[in-house]
């Protein structure tokens, strides 16, 4: 590669899909949303590179939240399997890429010290996991189904059950933090965080699909959640 050439840049963030910074129904955006237009930036080596994690960064136990924090027994709640593929906009698998997840326990309580919701902590559940995608971009976690919980955004506000996802892809341009929801949750249409996503189809894609095929008999229901990161332009940028 000539010294002056930057490898193919990533396609822009799709603002028809991503929420805006300021979204009035989600009160915390009011003072935390940048108010000036984003400044355009031609991607450079700085943006098309990013941290790379190897297989030494994770262990198989990291992907099993139903086991990885056990102290004196099993966590309570309904065991679940969460799986899917991480691909880019061109349907290419995002390989060997770090996926991190965190969630509330079955009672809707986070282990985080700041969470004061009046629901029990589970001594055998932390709710944090990580794994690397495989050569097809696949990932898989075992966990327990997180509970819904109240928050103070508005009167009688409850978050639908969800799992937080953090993804890197191959560069800082593809960085994504998102949330996975569960099908049929009556709280979905009421959630200002999910509703911040402007496009109904894009909201629906944050809802996992129940999969009878991956459900393990006598053991756990399975939910499929595919994630699409930014793809790349076909030509290099001089």
């Amino acid at each position: 590669m000539p010294e002056n050439r930057v490898p193919n840049p990533y396609r822009p963030r799709d603002w028809g899909v991503h929420p805006p910074y300021k979204y009035d129904a989600y009160g915390s955006t009011k003072l935390r949303a940048p108010s000036k237009p984003l400044v355009p930036l031609r991607q450079t080596l700085s943006e098309i590179t990013g941290p790379v994690y190897g297989h030494d960064a994770v262990t198989p136990l990291d992907a099993d939240l139903s086991v990885n924090a056990r102290r004196n027994g099993e966590p309570l709640g309904e065991r679940i399997i969460v799986f899917g593929r991480v691909i880019d906009e061109d349907d290419r698998p995002v390989r060997n890429s770090l996926v991190e997840v965190w969630q509330a326990n079955a009672a809707g309580r986070y282990i985080h010290v700041v969470d004061q919701h009046d629901a029990p902590i589970d001594p055998n559940f932390t709710g944090a996991g990580r794994c690397l995608t495989d050569n097809d971009g696949r990932y898989r976690f075992v966990s327990v189904r997180p509970g819904e919980y109240p928050w103070r955004n508005h009167h009688n506000a409850w978050r639908p059950a969800h799992i937080h996802f953090s993804l890197f892809g191959a560069s800082i341009a593809t960085r994504l933090v998102t949330q996975m929801f569960f099908p049929g949750d009556p709280l979905l249409p009421l959630d200002p965080i999910l509703n911040g996503v402007p496009d109904p189809d894009a909201r629906q894609r944050l809802v996992a699909r129940f999969s009878i095929d991956e459900t393990k008999p006598e053991w756990a229901l399975a939910y499929e959640f595919d994630i699409v990161l930014r793809g790349r332009h076909a030509t290099p940028m001089e």
């Binding site: 929420p19 979204y23 699409v228």
Partner: protein, 199 residues
């Protein structure tokens, strides 16, 4: 073409997975200490606060940084420049949650200059990503170093920003007890709002 997956906020409860796993019995795979004993380059601390539109500290933000090593090389397969060597002891990625006063810091080395688009060199800089409860989408910014006057003056990214806003990306140098620190506050909103990029 597949559609991008929508971003959602990191929320207030990420620490036990992303920034402070050890405190909760887990294992951290990123931290705010980037430099190891053998890392080449000038040791620096990068520090600052995250402030909201009312000027109040944001106590539950997460800052990630990504930077080149002391000679300007990124530890990434697509940085193939032969003239700038990798440093096996330096990965270049850091993560920190803000504390109750909105403060964060990183112990790292000063990055070297690197090539930008075309023939333009980029001044030494650190790429910064900001996440927080109340931010439905993360925000990209950069940190430059105040004492790199000439390099900053020639930097194409800084040049693309209106002059009166450039200062929001330039960290001031402080030295005490032989330690060098660069300080930069990140203002999410308002008159002195930090420049955020449409990366």
């Amino acid at each position: 073409m597949a559609k991008q997956t929508a971003s959602q906020t990191v929320g207030p409860y990420f620490a036990y997975c992303l920034t402070e796993a050890e405190r909760y019995g887990g294992r951290d795979i990123a931290s705010n200490v980037l430099a190891a004993d053998g890392t080449l380059g000038h040791r620096i601390r990068i520090e600052g606060r995250v402030l909201d539109g009312a000027g109040k500290p944001v106590p539950d933000a997460m800052i990630e940084i990504w930077q080149a090593n002391a000679v300007g090389r990124y530890d990434h397969p697509e940085d193939t420049r032969a003239q700038a060597a990798l440093d096996p002891s330096f990965k270049g990625f850091g993560r920190a949650g803000t504390d109750a006063n909105g403060r964060f810091f990183f112990d790292t080395v000063k990055p070297g200059a690197l090539p930008g688009t075309g023939w333009a060199q980029q001044a030494p800089h650190v790429n910064v990503i900001v996440f927080a409860r109340g931010m439905l989408v993360h925000a990209y910014t950069r940190l430059y170093f105040a004492d790199d006057h000439e390099a900053n003056a020639a930097d194409p990214v800084l040049a693309s920003i209106p002059e009166r806003r450039r200062g929001t990306l330039i960290a001031e140098r402080r030295q005490s007890d032989g330690r060098v620190a660069y300080r930069l506050d990140i203002r999410l909103q308002g008159e002195d709002e930090t420049v955020f990029f449409d990366v």
